[in-house]
C-alpha cells in the first residue's frame, strides 16, 4: 500500500508527512516526526498518556489515524511551554511534585490545559471528572489535582490556594503574597 501524504498543523507550524493508513497519530508523532513527548501507555484508549488536542478537543492519539490529521490543527505537549518559559501547569506540576515516573505527565498536562483554556476556575470535582480518562500508576491523583488547582492560581496571578488549604503551607502562601507586593 503506498504511503499517504498528509498536511497538517502541529503546535502552530504547518507540517507534512508520509504515513501508512494503519499508523495511529501517536505512532506518526513519535516514530515519523520524532516528537516523543506524547507517550504510549495502553495503546487502546484507556490511559490518556497519548492525549493531544485535535481541533480544540482532547483525544487519545492512539485512537486516531495519522491520515485523519489531514487539514487539522494539533497541539501536543511540545506546544504547551512558550519561549518565555513553562506553562503554569508545568510549573505547578514541578512545585507540587505531581509526577514520579513521568509517563502519564504529558497526557495530564495536555488534558488539563484544554480544561483550563475553557474553564480557568474549574473546581476540584470538575477537574477530577475531566481527568478521569488519564491514569497515573505511581504519584496518585491528589498531587496532580492540587497542581491543576495551583496552576489556576498561577495563571490568574493569585496566591497558591492549594498550599493555603493544606494548613502547613499556609505560611508559605502568605509569604509569597508579601513578596509579590
Amino acid at each position: 500500500m503506498p504511503k499517504v501524504h498528509v498536511q497538517t498543523n502541529i503546535n502552530g507550524t504547518d507540517m507534512d508527512f508520509l504515513c501508512e493508513a494503519r499508523q495511529s497519530l501517536l505512532e506518526v508523532l513519535r516514530d515519523v516526526l520524532g516528537m516523543t513527548g506524547t507517550k504510549e501507555g495502553c495503546n487502546d484508549g484507556n490511559c490518556g498518556a497519548c492525549t493531544v488536542i485535535l481541533d480544540g478537543r482532547i483525544v487519545d492519539s492512539c485512537c486516531v489515524l495519522g491520515v485523519e490529521a489531514q487539514g487539522r490543527t494539533i497541539t501536543t505537549i511540545e506546544g504547551v511551554a512558550s519561549p518565555e518559559g513553562l506553562h503554569p501547569l508545568q510549573q505547578a506540576f514541578l512545585e507540587e511534585a505531581a509526577l514520579q515516573c513521568g509517563i502519564c505527565t504529558p497526557g495530564f498536562i495536555v488534558a488539563a490545559k484544554s480544561l483550563l483554556d475553557r474553564e480557568p476556575d474549574a473546581d476540584e470535582g470538575r477537574i477530577r471528572h475531566w481527568l478521569a480518562g488519564n491514569l497515573c500508576r505511581c504519584t496518585g491523583y491528589d498531587k496532580i489535582i492540587r497542581a491543576v488547582l495551583s496552576a489556576e492560581d498561577i495563571a490568574a496571578g493569585r496566591g497558591d490556594r492549594s498550599a493555603a488549604s493544606t494548613g502547613a503551607g499556609a505560611g508559605a502562601a502568605d509569604q509569597r503574597d508579601v513578596y509579590n507586593d
Binding site: M1, V4, E20, A21, R22, S24, N43, D44, G45, N46, G48, T51, L54, R57, I58, V59, D60, C62, C63, V64, L65, V67, E68, A111, H129, W130, A132, G133, N134
Partner: protein, 291 residues
C-alpha cells in the same frame, strides 16, 4: 495490523459503493475509539477503511418539533451533550453521551459507532432504544429504516449487510409530560464497561400522577441490549408511584439472561438491572413532572 486502504468519501452514494466493493473486507470509521483498537488487536482483517466523517449528512444534528431529533452517525458525543436543545428535550440522551468513556473518548466517539459496534454492554444503546430511536440505513439497494431495538443481533453483530452504512438516528419529539433517563453500574466512577445498564422513558397524563406509557431497555445482561417490554407495558395506566416503580423493576429482571465474567456474576447483574431500572424510572418520572 496489516496495512489497508483509507478512503474518505464525501457522499453517501460514494461511501456505499466503496463499502460494497470490498464487502466484508471493509469497515466504516467514525470516531474510531472501538474500530481502530479492534483492528490493532486483530479482531478484523480488512482491505479498506471508509472514513464517514467527511459526509455532511453524517455530521448533521438537527431538531424540529415535527421531525424530532436527527443525529448523524458520525456526530461525536460532546456535540450531543453540549447542545442546548438536546439538553432540554432529550436529557436521557445526554445521560448516555456524557458517561461513555472519558473526555478524550467523548471528543471522538459517536452514537452511531456505539450502536454499530453492537456490544451487549454498549453504553448508549439502551438510551437510544428507550427514546424510541430509529436507524436510517443506506445500502446498495437504497435506504431503509428500522427501530434501534431491532438493530443488534448478537455480541458485535447487527443487521447491516455488506455495503450498508448507518446514516443516522432519529428520535421522535418528546411528548408532553414525558421524561427519560439512563443509568449504568460500574465499580469505578468513570471509564469502565457496564456490569449492567438501564434506560427508561415515561409519558404521564395531564395530572402528572399517572403513567400513560413507558419504555424500558436494559444492557449488559443478554447477548444484545434488550427491551423490557412486559415491565414497561405493565406501567401503562398505573399511578406514577413507588409501588408501580418497584413492580416494573422486578419485572425488568425477567429479560436478563446474563453471563458470569470478570466484571460481574449472573446474580449481581440480575439484581442490578432491577435496581437500575427503578432508579431510571424515578428520574424519568421526576423529569416528566418538570422537577
Amino acid at each position: 495490523m496489516r496495512d489497508f486502504e483509507y478512503v474518505a468519501p464525501t457522499t453517501i452514494d460514494e461511501a456505499v459503493r466503496l463499502m460494497a466493493e470490498s464487502g466484508n473486507r471493509a469497515k466504516a470509521l467514525a470516531g474510531g475509539t472501538d474500530v481502530i483498537v479492534q483492528l490493532r488487536g486483530g479482531r478484523f482483517d480488512i482491505d479498506r477503511l471508509v472514513d464517514m466523517k467527511k459526509i455532511p449528512e453524517l455530521n448533521e444534528m438537527s431538531y424540529s418539533e415535527a421531525d424530532g431529533l436527527t443525529v448523524g452517525a458520525a456526530v461525536p458525543c460532546h456535540r450531543i451533550y453540549e447542545d442546548a436543545t438536546v439538553q432540554e428535550q432529550y436529557p436521557g440522551l445526554v445521560d448516555a453521551a456524557f458517561l461513555i468513556g472519558g473526555i478524550q473518548i467523548q471528543g471522538r466517539a459517536t452514537l452511531g459507532g456505539n450502536l454499530c459496534n453492537s456490544s451487549p454492554s454498549g453504553d448508549t444503546i439502551p438510551a437510544l432504544m428507550a427514546l424510541g430511536g430509529t436507524c436510517d440505513i443506506a445500502g446498495p439497494n437504497g435506504r431503509r429504516s428500522l427501530p434501534v431495538e431491532d438493530f443488534c443481533t448478537g455480541p458485535g453483530r447487527n443487521v447491516l449487510q455488506d455495503g450498508e452504512i448507518l446514516v443516522g438516528l432519529n428520535f421522535p419529539s418528546p411528548k408532553a409530560n414525558s421524561g427519560a433517563a439512563f443509568l449504568r453500574f460500574i465499580p469505578r466512577n468513570e471509564m469502565d464497561i457496564a456490569i449492567a445498564n438501564a434506560a427508561a422513558s415515561v409519558v404521564l397524563d395531564d395530572s402528572k400522577e399517572n403513567i400513560v406509557s413507558a419504555r424500558i431497555a436494559v444492557g449488559a445482561v443478554a447477548p444484545t441490549p434488550m427491551m423490557a417490554t412486559a415491565a414497561a407495558d405493565g406501567l401503562a395506566g398505573k399511578a406514577a408511584s413507588e409501588e408501580s416503580i418497584e413492580a416494573a423493576g422486578e419485572a425488568a429482571k425477567a429479560v436478563a439472561s446474563p453471563i458470569n465474567d470478570m466484571r460481574g456474576t449472573v446474580t449481581q447483574r440480575v439484581h442490578l438491572v432491577g435496581v437500575l431500572t427503578k432508579r431510571a424510572l424515578r428520574t424519568a418520572i421526576s423529569r416528566a413532572k418538570g422537577e
